[in-house]
Amino acid sequence: MTEKPKVGVYICHCGINISSTVDVDAVAEFAKKLPNVEVARTYSYMCSDPGQVLIKKDIEEQGLNRIVVASCSPRMHEPTFRKAISEAGVNPYFLEMANIREQCSWVHEEMEEGTAKAEKLVGASVAKVRLLEALETKEVDAEPAALVIGAGIAGIQSALDIADAGFKVYLVEKTPSVGGRMAQLDKTFPTLDCSACILTPKMVDAASHPNIELLSYSEVEEVTGFVGNFDVKVRKKARYVDFNKCTGCGDCAKECRVKDRFPNEFDQGLGKRSAIYLPFPQAVPAKYTIDAENCLFLSKGKCGKNPKCQEVCGAEAIDFEQKDEFVEFKVGAIIVATGFDPFDASRKPEYGYDDYPNVITGMEMERLVSASGPTEGKIKIFNGEEEIEPKEVALIKCVGSRDESVGNEYCSRVCCMYVAKQAHLIRDKLPDANIRIYYMDVRAFGKGFEEFYDRVRRENVRYIRGNPSEIFKRGNKLVVKVEDTLTSRPLEDEVDLVVLGVGLEPRADMREVMDLLRLSQSPDRFFLEAHPKLRPVDTATDGVFLAGCAQGPKDIPDTVAQAKGAAASAMIPLARGKVTINAQVAIVNEATCRGCGFCVNICPYTAIELVTVNRFGNEVEVARVNEALCKGCGSCSAACLSDSIQPKSFRDSQILPQIAALGVMK
């Protein structure tokens, strides 16, 4: 059934915001002449209650079935008017807004111009509204569970919040232990609490929470579906240690034939571990893992007569037959908390990180000063003959940040403070050392930051403004070549130890997750949020949220805050139990589709697939849209040569008349 379009046009004065530049009455008169327009009215505030009542009344009395509101941006009040007309019994998608404020009265000055333009915009809206179709908003059930990818502090916090709210959480961590980067830190600025002390309880909570299923040493393999209904497949990598039997006693590691041969990742390679190992003493879960690459038995097929670990393990937990396992489950929302990588200092060869052992990174410094680190907290360097305590220490900030030459224009936000923190920790341990910090700027914006920075300066730490150009060796000393930009003096500063304040970078392996969840990167290559200000934890994929450094560099307080935000957002569909599907989806005309699959290729949400249908006894392939996945972007339709796929409300047949109205009705 097709009804005659009866259009009502409502032109808003917006106080004088519109009417001072647009002759609204003239526009109304113009509108009345347009085909199918039954009423055209003006009103001081269309969005106000009486304004809406005006529209509703006309709908009831005059049988209007299409509404054009000429007022502010549809980005502002489209939902308002949609709601209003649907309350009056008109399908909410029979609305078109002409933006005569933001894009007309506010940007033009002359009444004549403003009026002429407003008329055109109204004309175009009327042309389109006549051809709109009624759409139905659909809802589907949402699975009351969440997936959190990455178990750094961000992931842990999100998982705990959601689990505390009573929803099931699957917390997937790639490495054998949860904790992420924060676990590696010694003390944390600006309060100097011990990182492990505040983190470990949370790690344990996460592992033992009845609502959290921790999947450590695991990776997400596949995610399909859409908000409310993601199907997830996770690979649990083989540890070769029976998770349930291992008691975490560590006998195996002590006896491993290749004991303490391999750089320990957790200690940034400063310490050594065996082929079977626990990343760090407080690791959660406290279960050993065999590093298959280095294990003699797994890599060479032979470890002495019998693998040593197997021999010594009283719990008989060693299982060389173990295979990767897969688990599959359904969730309603996903949080990405995959964190960051510290900048790889080798990429600034001028600093000699690869060449001189006494040039170290901030991350390594964290391990050095840590009481549980490889040196038990002692800062020692090797001067070629013996281990000594360094006397002259230089810290360099902004290594790999704010640096176009390595492609990182952004500020890493934590280096200023952690470098200051490390200066303080060095001062603590080496009261006599000369400590200087080379910097470009000091950014101490956070709560307690400036105070902390002041304190460090008072601790006889010299701040020298300059960006070192080179570090080289002269005798036993390292020479930092730099220009003091405050005095414009070139310096060659001879030191024993250089700490590079490396910045934060997107994880090298983030592509996997991007492809998995169809996420994008912002220009800094971290994950792109849906809106930098208003939707900082959302992504363009509905139901997928960001937490922590995965979205961009941040310190722990910000990470935790964002993690809580992400958890709250993720819980919306879980709590509602339902998700609303976008109604303005694409639809395929199967009679004309030629099955070329262009649209399938294009759709960023894999919402389209080719299916075989029977066309009068012939089997042909045609495209079909999964309405739950489609976001209505319409990219598919611009590529369809046969115009067979069209986004509802933005069909060619609706846009072309709009173009015509703008062109012809001068």
Binding site: A591, T592, R594, G595, C596, G597, F598, C599, N601, I602, L610, R615, F616, G617, N618, E619, V620, E621, A639, L641, S642, D643, R651, D652, S653, L656, P657
Partner: protein, 328 residues
């Protein structure tokens, strides 16, 4: 190159005799003069009609998608036997592009490859050696062409008659084939695309005038579209009235819109077989439009249509570093 006709016909006869082959499309002698016509061969005997000569300009790949799909009566099975197709190098690109676009499946077709030393431009030939009603034959003769007409043999230099598409052809050898009828020919030095360059050399108003004169002539017979192996939509948008991209009325405005839309729809898809231009009864140099776009696609986007069956369709893919110098 000397194409061995016996061999060709023998192969064709074998192919059409296969149970899984419905018919074979090749070239056969036309009804008069220099004409060569598409031949639909259904049995071994019919194969005797087939030829391959410098007159075989037509790209037969269009027949892969042209046949109408009739309703299959209930209880009957659709005939899904293969179509065998003779292809030159350029024609094979159409097959490849159709594979890319899923217009056909590899199993639907038996491709018989004919390496091609270049075909002639029939208009040039007719101009210089007027056609008569009796049949003429043509052959490749070393570097040259040999015209056999009324018992006389005339040697004609290659350059004199070589079709424009062939001067610019980079793929004289079929890119895919199930059976190759001959040894590959050597590729030749490419000519400059003078036709396109000449227009590029004009200023924008001159270009507008040039094309206005051309499009004015279009009678909207849609031969260019129908002959194109890659225009295979069941229901062409340029025919449709809702929405109306192009009005039915024939005038400069609509003709131009039609021609722009046609050319654009073939951006990154046209395989430069030149058929559209050949068949245009108004002699509109459509090839220039297609080649211009094909060249831009090649130079700017590093993409060539119909050379890689695994390629992503140009219009349905992008590279993050696609040129954007035109963006404000």
């Amino acid at each position: 190159m000397k194409m061995d006709l016996e061999q060709l016909r023998k192969t064709a006869a074998e192919v059409v005799s296969r149970d899984d082959v419905r018919y074979l499309v090749g070239w056969k002698q036309g009804t008069y003069g220099y004409r060569v016509a598409p031949g639909f061969i259904e049995d071994a005997a019919g194969a005797a009609e087939l030829i391959f000569s410098p007159l075989c300009t037509a790209n037969l790949a269009t027949y892969l998608t042209l046949a109408e799909q009739l309703p299959v009566p209930r209880g009957e099975e659709p005939d899904d036997r293969k179509v065998a197709l003779m292809v030159k190098g350029c024609d094979s690109r159409a097959v490849v592009q159709l594979l890319v676009e899923k217009g056909i499946e590899r199993d639907d077709v038996v491709v018989i490859g004919c390496p091609c030393p270049g075909v002639i431009d029939a208009d040039l030939l007719a101009e210089k050696y007027p056609e008569t009603e009796d049949l003429a034959e043509m052959k490749w003769d070393g570097e040259d062409f040999l015209l056999i007409h009324g018992g006389e043999e005339t040697k004609i230099a290659r350059d004199e008659l070589l079709a424009e598409k062939c001067r610019l052809c980079r793929y004289p050898n079929p890119i895919i084939s199930d059976i190759m009828l001959d040894q590959e020919v050597e590729t030749w030095e490419l000519a400059e695309d003078e036709g396109v360059q000449e227009i590029e050399g004009k200023d924008v108003d001159e270009r507008a005038d040039y094309w206005a004169e051309q499009f004015e002539k279009c009678i909207r017979c849609y031969s260019c579209r129908n002959v194109c192996p890659l225009c295979y939509c069941q229901d062409c948008v340029l025919d449709r009235l809702n929405p109306t991209w192009v009005n039915r009325s024939v005038n400069f405005s609509e003709n131009t819109a039609f021609n722009i839309a046609r050319a654009f729809h073939l951006a990154g898809r046209c395989i430069e077989c030149g058929e559209c231009e050949r068949v245009c009864p108004a002699n509109i140099p459509l090839g220039k439009l297609n080649r211009k776009l094909a060249r831009e696609v090649r130079d700017k986007y590093g993409f060539e249509a119909g050379v890689d069956p695994e390629a992503e369709p140009f219009q349905a893919s992008f590279k993050p570093d696609d040129p954007e110098d035109f963006i404000l």
